[in-house]
């Protein structure tokens, strides 16, 4: 559906400065790669997420798809239609943003404050070319239908700025989908909302996306949002896609430390591979031996990091020597989080965060046993 190939976008780093002695301009400014050779595909009906910290190039990629940013090189196509193409030796294709027929929701919503709710949504239909523009009545019907879907029907004649944050967000979405775009672009649409509203809208968004079947590209820095919504996630860092996969894959098997760190919280234990048989690895660490399963191919002696999620660990007050990967430690602190209790356990030099069922709460200072089931450990190569 959406094909991105070898997308490159650079910005001028430092602004050009004049050399004082001869008055001539210095040749070139340093270039910063905002997007560095990014490729991915989004299938029909998918909700594809670009996830990463700010400055990783995810928004630039999205804006390049939208046509708001002109890439330096690469290829962007929706279905058969080429939106952008710039390859050495070929004629550059660059469809302007207003002819791409995409829908977009901005981080700041970009609701036009001088229009009513109705007019905000009607705008994309009203500015269509004469031949394609629906009749006034049809516009009105379509706008009202979308507004109803968004539960904004009763606000149609209100000034757009009189809406609450959540309503503005839904209005922005309504405006983006009223033309039934082939592709919907969402730039951190939930980041300006409070936590509770964010959660409810997250599900709302997912439901809508599924119901309408709109292929979407979603940009966010919030890993929970990404995990909850996406059919596929591309984790970006410094202009590169570092891992691409289904949410579960990415969460459970981060293929590098950045992803593991960025997606949720992880405990990292460094060590050296001592032996492996097929997918069964043994890793020696300062505080003990760990057995784990991994599809990676690493010879003995490789330095590695073992990553384990707090919620994938178990905590016992009694030892269970029959089970593998049990370490002895003591509780340093604990924190009640409502739906869970986090314990920080000191094991040797390591501090491991273990998330437990709220019914379990162990006082600091107590000796405990931490168990890490082999299937929950992932092996992350040290770069």
């Amino acid at each position: 559906m959406l094909h991105i190939d070898n997308l490159v976008k650079t910005f001028d780093g430092e602004r050009r400065k004049r050399a004082r002695s001869n008055g001539k301009e210095e040749a070139a400014a340093t270039k910063i790669f905002a997007v560095n050779d990014v490729s991915f595909e989004v299938g029909e009906g998918e909700l594809f997420t670009l996830l990463g910290p700010s400055g990783c190039g995810k928004t630039t990629t999205l804006r390049a798809i939208a046509g708001l940013e002109k890439p330096d090189a690469g290829h962007i196509a929706v279905g058969e239609r080429v939106l952008f193409s710039s390859k050495p030796g070929e004629k550059t294709v660059n469809v302007p943003a207003n002819s791409r027929g995409l829908g977009m929701v901005f981080q700041s919503y970009a609701i036009w404050p001088h229009m009513t709710v109705f007019n905000n949504v009607a705008f994309p239909l009203q500015v269509m070319k004469r031949g394609e523009r629906p009749a006034k009545r049809e516009i009105s019907e379509r706008v009202m239908r979308v507004l109803e879907t968004m539960e904004l029907g009763s606000y149609a004649n209100r000034q757009a700025t009189k809406l609450s944050g959540g309503q503005q967000q839904r209005l922005a979405l309504a405006r983006a989908i009223v033309i039934e775009p082939t592709l919907l672009l969402l730039d951190e649409p939930l980041s300006n909302l409070d936590a509770k509203l964010r959660e409810s809208l997250r599900y709302e968004l997912k439901r809508l996306q599924r119901e309408l079947g709109i292929t979407s590209v979603y940009v966010t820095h919030d890993q929970i949002e990404a995990l909850a919504l996406s059919t596929k996630i591309a984790v970006m860092s410094d202009g590169n896609v570092v891992q691409l996969g289904r949410p579960r894959e990415i969460y459970q098997n981060p293929n590098n430390k950045f992803v593991a760190e960025f997606i949720g919280t992880s405990n990292f234990i460094s060590g050296v591979v001592s032996a492996h048989r097929g997918e069964q690895y043994t890793v020696e660490t300062n505080d003990g031996r760990l057995l784990l399963d991994s599809a990676a191919d690493m010879p003995g002696g490789t330095e590695v990091v073992v990553s384990v999620r707090p919620e994938s660990m178990e905590l016992y007050e009694e030892s269970r020597p029959d089970l593998p990967n049990e370490w002895r430690g003591s509780v340093l602190t604990r924190a009640f989080l409502g739906d869970s209790v986090d314990h920080v356990i000191g094991v040797g030099k390591h501090e491991l965060r273990v998330r437990c069922n709220p019914s379990i709460s162990i006082a600091p200072g107590s000796d405990v046993y931490v168990r890490m089931p082999p299937e929950n450990l992932s092996l992350v190569p040290v770069n």
């Binding site: 708001l68 207003n98 995409l102 829908g103 977009m104 901005f106 036009w112 000034q159 700025t161």
Partner: protein, 576 residues
């Protein structure tokens, strides 16, 4: 004794507390002072004007109105005035807004030229700008006419028409619009436009349906100021209009003030007419501003202004800008420079180039008053620009943000000086300070007061527009963070207002260099300013020396303005 002492102690503690309740908070003190200052500055000349208009030796009179408006030429005069004012306002609005939009919101080439093209016409004194246009486009001696003569025949362009007047005045005023609109565009979230673009709108639709409505307060303010400024303008109607008998309001004010005793009644009546027009305008601007709390485009939701790519239009725009630059800056400046090298103006020819000399600059350098005047003008310009913008930033807060009753009165008051003829202002100030125990008559301070009064309306517009665009939340969030009102103002609002305030500051700095009508009455020996010098050279018919002076002034101000923007860029004002 033992029982009395704690009681006494309590009282000494309670006393200051009760006292403090009546002690104004710093906020009130500041607001009060600013309100007081504006009221004082505006009301003194207003009172003087109204007194002179409605009272004569015998009591209330409306004779002034009769003498002012009961004139056979009054109807064509009003027609000409409005035609000229509205024409110039529209032209400057179109030019200034387009330049500002291209500069701020697109990747148009030659951005450096913009700076010059949009500021320099403001810097060239009106007398010189108008005269250079006579030399360029007079049907008899105009250089442009001579250039195009082979194609269009002789005298194809006639600057001595209402169109010529509109052209020169409009170009001369366009920098004001440019500065106002640049500030407005800078503080607008570009995603508002991008979302329209994503909706499939063409660039023109985006501009018309989103950009323009969103910058409406700035546009309305621009129109208002431009119309009043053009109604007030003197040089252009005097030099271009009179020749073919095109009379406007100011020519009329000139005639009634020229006679002795000066007919303040009639001049006042004309000024009151202008005042009424202007107040209606301010009220309208306020209504427009109010209908939108929704025009707060600076929302604190961070945005990165990215220039829009013009694509294939980029070269076209580039050519247009170069042409505009040549027409409005290079051509008049070249005429100025050329004239400054002559003994008397002659149309260019080889013989003339041989006689060129630097005598005029030498004469300027030898003028004992020139350095003093330059220093005084600098001090006054910097002082009045800073004072006005500082005061107006606070006044704008009162008008836009506070709920103090009568705050709109403050807005109106700040606008009053715009319509008070400079001569009347000069008279009013000398009247007051000749009798005031504060010994500032005959010093530079009385000029400072005059300048601050005259430029208050502009400062107020620049500040109010910027204030309208800043979301309440930003201020509220600062207050919630525990900041006092003053801290909020200084640390949050001022930095956000800075682009608008800087624009106003630059404007006032530049125009203060040519303030003449009130300076002429108020300066004293030793306190000469540049505009007085210009006036002297003008009266003496020393056009060539005057041109040299103009060249020096333009260079000085370009330097100053560049420094201001460099400093501004350092504190992050120029975001692109």
């Amino acid at each position: 004794m033992t029982t009395a002492s704690p009681a006494l102690g309590q009282e000494t503690v309670a006393e200051p507390a009760r006292w403090r309740r009546w002690l104004p908070t710093p906020k009130m003190l500041i607001l009060g002072m600013v309100g007081l200052a504006i009221g004082y500055l505006a009301l003194v000349p207003l009172y003087y004007l109204l007194w002179g208009t409605f009272f004569d030796g015998n009591g209330v009179t409306f004779g002034g109105f009769e003498r002012a408006y009961g004139h056979s030429q009054i109807l064509p005069l009003i027609g000409n005035s409005l035609w000229f004012a509205i024409g110039a306002a529209v032209l400057s609005l179109v030019v200034g807004t387009s330049l500002a939009y291209l500069n701020v919101r697109t990747d148009v080439p030659f951005k450096a030229l913009f700076f010059a093209a949009s500021i320099v016409p403001l810097i060239i004194p009106g007398i010189l700008y108008t005269i250079s246009w006579i030399f360029l486009a007079s049907p008899d001696i105009g250089l442009i006419n001579r250039l195009i003569e082979p194609v269009f025949g002789s005298g194809a362009i006639d600057i001595f028409t209402i169109w010529g007047m509109v052209w020169v005045e409009g170009l001369h005023l366009s920098p004001i619009v440019f500065l106002l609109m640049v500030a407005a565009f800078r503080s607008m979230d570009p995603s508002l436009e991008e979302s329209a673009l994503m909706s499939g709108a063409t660039r023109w639709q985006v501009f018309r349906k989103v950009t323009v409505p969103l910058t409406r307060p700035a546009i309305v303010a621009s129109i208002l100021i431009m119309v009043v400024r053009s109604l007030e303008s003197f040089e252009v109607p005097a030099l271009l209009g009179l020749q073919n008998g095109i009379y406007v309001f100011t020519s009329r004010i000139y005639f009634v003030l020229r006679s002795y005793p000066p007919d303040f009644g009639a001049a006042g009546a004309l000024a009151v007419g202008l005042l009424v027009l202007a107040l209606i305008g301010v009220a309208m601007a306020n209504i427009v501003g109010k209908s939108g709390k929704n025009f707060q485009t600076v929302t604190g939701k961070g945005f990165r202004p990215r220039p829009m790519e013009l694509g294939k239009w980029r070269p076209v725009m580039g050519v247009a800008i170069v042409l505009y630059f040549i027409l409005t800056v290079i051509a008049p400046l070249v005429v100025l420079l050329y004239t400054s090298l002559l003994k008397f103006y002659t149309a260019p020819s080889w013989d003339v180039f041989k006689t060129m000399t630097l005598d005029n600059y030498r004469e300027l350098a030898g003028m004992s008053k020139a350095m003093t005047a330059l220093q005084n003008s600098l001090a006054l310009g910097l002082g009045s620009a800073t004072l006005v913008m500082a005061f107006m930033a606070i006044a704008a807060w009162i008008v836009v943000r506070s709920r103090i009753r009568g705050r709109h009165l403050l807005d109106q008051l700040a606008f009053v000086p715009l319509v008070i003829p400079g001569l009347v202002l000069g008279l009013a100030l000398s009247f007051v300070y000749l009798r005031s125990p504060i010994p500032i008559y005959g010093t530079l301070f009385i000029l400072l007061i005059a300048y601050v009064t005259r430029y208050m309306p502009y400062g107020m517009r620049y500040a109010v527009i910027s204030m309208h665009q800043i979301s309440n939340e930003l201020e509220e969030s600062a207050q919630v963070s525990g900041a006092s009102w003053w801290q909020t103002f200084r640390r949050v609002l001022l930095p956000l207002l800075a682009p608008g305030l800087l624009a106003g500051w630059v404007y006032i700095l530049v125009v203060s260099f040519r303030e003449l009508s009130s300076s002429i009455l108020l300066y004293s020996p030793g306190n000469e300013v540049l505009s007085i010098l210009i006036f002297e050279q003008f009266e003496d018919g020393e056009f060539t020396v005057l041109s040299a002076l103009g060249v020096v002034m333009v260079l000085t101000l370009i330097l100053l303005v560049s420094i201001a923007y460099k400093l501004g860029a350092k504190v992050g004002l120029n975001r692109n």
